[in-house]
């Protein structure tokens, strides 16, 4: 069973491709496996908040420094963000409109935006075994040479050459 409804997944792909768009250096996030990565992460222990402290009472601090205080798991929080964008007609907007919607989200709900942004960047740069970073294309974009286990001993040799 998919964690994200089809329209939520469509918003994630569209938003991910504005956060990490295609250019000459790499394809966009959705072409690197964002949705496969997100399904596994949101549907897994992290998405379910299995290692988070989720006991009440929940309170909203009036000053910074306390981090995440919402009652939602990461999966619930990301889905709520995507539904909010969907309700705002995100899929009907052109690129400039989508950028404006994401900029509003970043300004008005910084924690929700940070979670969405992190998910997209992680999908590009985590080991391909997690479902994103297709064939290491995210690493090639960045200039990270690759998993040292696969590169083996020559990895250290790169430094001394």
């Amino acid at each position: 069973v998919a964690v994200l409804a089809p329209d939520e997944a469509a918003v994630l792909a569209a938003a991910g491709d504005r956060i990490f768009p295609a250019d000459e250096s790499s394809p966009a996030a959705s072409d690197l496996g964002l949705l496969a990565f997100a399904e596994r992460q949101l549907g897994g222990p992290w998405g379910r908040g299995e290692r988070m402290y989720l006991r009440p009472p929940f309170a909203t601090p009036d000053h910074p420094g306390h981090g995440w205080q919402a009652a939602a798991t990461p999966a619930e929080a990301v889905a709520a963000t995507l539904r909010g964008l969907l309700a705002g007609g995100f899929l009907d907007l052109d690129d400039a409109g989508r950028d404006a919607a994401l900029a509003r989200l970043e300004r008005d709900e910084p924690a929700a935006f940070a979670l969405l942004r992190a998910l997209v960047i992680e999908s590009v740069l985590a080991h391909p075994s997690h479902g994103g970073n297709r064939a290491g294309a995210g690493w090639r974009w960045l200039g990270f040479p690759g998993d040292p286990v696969e590169l083996g001993q020559p990895y250290a040799g790169r430094l001394r050459r």
Binding site: R51, Y53, P61, G65, E106, H127, P145, P148, Y155, L159
Partner: protein, 589 residues
């Protein structure tokens, strides 16, 4: 169900593993209780998993079971750390020693007698700040530092830092190899008239056999050190450098969560723990050792009703008093015209200057005491956690994407660890509202930065900027956490200190100079909980030295002599090495 042992040790991190192994080698029956699992290296994902280990924090404390609450001031309600965390205590055999960076320091002589040293230097800490002597002199701790360095296999260059405390000999291993980054920093610092030297660290530049007879392989510079378990076994970790030396007299119980110390009449009798199935069990012992990280030690004492809890309203009591945390200063220099091959390195690879620590410079009217170590790490660059863009760059989209890739290998990080003094309002107690998964109160942290840290941080930031400019940075960005309210959710470092501090006076310290709880002398509290204030450098070397010293004390208190180091009987090597060894197997002595 009750077990009996001579000594029960709580926590299988550096401190607990050292004490347990040393006491077992001295002939005592030891039970070592660890709340987390034993991890088999073969059970990992088979690749360097930055996402699982560093981002999702798979190797550190499971906050759903136990977290901390935090408030900036005792007049406000505390809120729990729900996810993330400014610090990440370990969980599992090896504790945070599995995921540390390896940077291994001896304190300066003056650090251990800070109150006296500042008075002699004519420096007065700001109002409402406490600088204390530890009750142990450097000369007493030095042999234990040496033992820890030999066991961990610390690399470094004796004499390269003119400010270091006296050493009886060289480091056990030469420093990690220079990198393009450390070479640039070293040249620039020397050009400024400073005294650069290589980072001392517990990661092996070559194959090494330690005094327990345990051999480990050299580092491959893969760059996945802190927040990761070292797959090469090159990074010292108690599960690969200490526990394989355990004789059968040491019984390691995993997924055993200690909930109380049992005591009466000024004597500890043992501990109560929950096993993996949630069944409550007991271990009775002649001595109890708490080595459950800074925060765990204090919480266990408070939950057990031991010691004298500190009351910030009256200043009475000692337990929970003098909690501190380092004030980091994080600089990034941007170098448009060169690359550093940053991905190859280790957290024990780096270059440092100690010129702005302690009383090594003229304080004039700077308005703060002490200072902090400045480091240029060549720590590797796992991709998710190594993204830096110049200030003013959008945080996402095409422009961010272009800049993130442009600067990934064109930045140098230089950071400082500022000293932090204790203060009446910085303390630990039990939270009145929030509880752990088993229903016990969480530990509550009350802490915030003061003007003292802001002044010290600004001074260190200016020095970092000078260094980065001298290295050739075209642009410099410096983050000063002390300029904001303390952020308990974003990772800073796992260097929490104090709360059960050591000292010579029971009115102001919770444990005596031998790490015995003043009120319960067969209860030993070992770890950075004993630090009276936060020194300007990483804590683990000192935790290790205190642990070796405590082991000698406990053996003596129980009528035993510690085995001479370097003379490891063959029988001390484990017969069932799989019981203890997630890394390299022990080699010949």
């Amino acid at each position: 169900v009750t077990r009996a042992a001579d000594v029960v040790v709580v926590g299988a991190g550096w401190a607990g593993s050292i004490v347990a192994v040393e006491l077992a080698r001295a002939g005592l029956e030891v039970a070592l209780l660890e709340r987390g699992p034993r991890r088999d290296p073969g059970a990992g994902p088979g690749f360097r998993d930055e996402l699982g280990d560093a981002v999702r924090q798979g190797l550190t404390q499971d906050l759903s079971r136990e977290t901390w609450t935090f408030r900036h001031d005792r007049r406000e309600p505390a809120l729990p750390v729900r996810v993330g965390g400014a610090f990440r205590p370990g969980e599992g055999v090896g504790g945070a020693g599995v995921v540390w960076g390896g940077q291994t320091w001896r304190l300066l002589e003056r650090d251990l007698r800070l109150g006296s040293a500042l008075a002699e230097a004519g420096q007065r800490p700001g109002p409402d700040l406490w600088a204390s002597d530890w009750g142990v002199a450097y000369a007493d701790l030095a042999p234990h530092y040496e033992t820890f360095e030999r066991v961990a296999g610390v690399s470094g260059l004796a004499g390269a830092n003119p400010f270091e405390a006296p050493r009886s000999g060289p480091y056990p291993l030469p420093p990690m190899p220079e990198t393009p980054l450390t070479a640039l920093f070293t040249g620039a610092a020397a050009g400024l008239g400073l005294h650069p030297f290589p980072q001392p660290g517990g990661t092996l530049p070559e194959r090494y056999t330690n005094p327990y007879g345990i051999a480990r392989e050299s580092c491959t510079l893969c760059g996945f050190c802190a927040q990761h378990a070292c797959p090469a076994g090159a990074k010292a970790d108690p599960s690969v450098a200490v526990l394989p030396a355990a004789p059968d007299r040491l019984r390691l119980l995993t997924e055993a969560t200690v909930t109380r110390v049992e005591a009466g009449g000024g004597r500890a009798r043992g501990v109560v723990y929950r096993d993996a199935a949630g069944v409550e069990r007991r271990v009775e012992a002649r001595a109890v050792v708490l080595a459950a990280y800074t925060l765990g030690n204090v919480r266990l004492l408070l939950l057990s009703g031991l010691g004298r809890p500190y009351d910030p309203a009256t200043g009475a009591g000692t337990l929970g008093r003098a909690y501190t945390f380092p004030a980091l200063v994080n600089g990034v220099g941007f170098f448009p015209d060169r690359t550093f091959e940053r991905y190859a390195g280790s957290t024990s690879t780096g270059a440092c200057v100690d010129d702005f620590s302690a009383e090594h410079f003229d304080h004039g009217d700077l308005g703060f005491t002490g200072g902090g170590l400045i480091q240029c790490p060549a720590a590797g660059a796992p991709p998710i956690g190594s993204l830096h863009v110049p200030p003013g760059t959008p945080s996402w989209g095409a422009a961010w994407k272009r800049e993130a890739a442009r600067w990934y290998d064109r930045v140098a990080l230089v950071h400082a660890q500022g000293e932090v003094l204790a203060a009446p309002g910085r303390h630990l107690d039990l939270d009145p509202a929030y509880r752990d998964a088993a229903g016990d109160p969480l530990l509550r942290i009350t802490f915030d930065w003061s003007e003292d840290e802001r002044r010290r941080s600004r001074f260190l930031a200016a020095r970092i900027e000078e260094l980065l400019r001298a290295m050739g940075a075209a642009q410099v960005a410096i983050d000063l956490p002390a300029e904001r309210p303390y952020d308990v959710a974003t990772y800073q470092c796992t260097h929490n200190a104090g709360g059960a501090i050591m000292g010579g006076d029971p009115a102001t310290s919770a444990v005596d100079p031998e790490c015995r709880l003043w009120e319960v002398p067969n209860l030993y509290v070992v770890g950075a909980s004993a630090f009276p204030q936060t020194p300007g450098r990483n804590p683990t070397g000192t935790v290790g030295a205190l642990a070796y010293r405590a082991a000698a004390t406990i053996a003596r208190d129980l009528g035993r002599t510690s085995p001479a180091r370097g003379e490891v009987p063959r029988t001390a090597l484990p017969r069932r090495r799989g019981d203890f060894t997630p890394g390299a197997p022990p080699g010949p002595p």
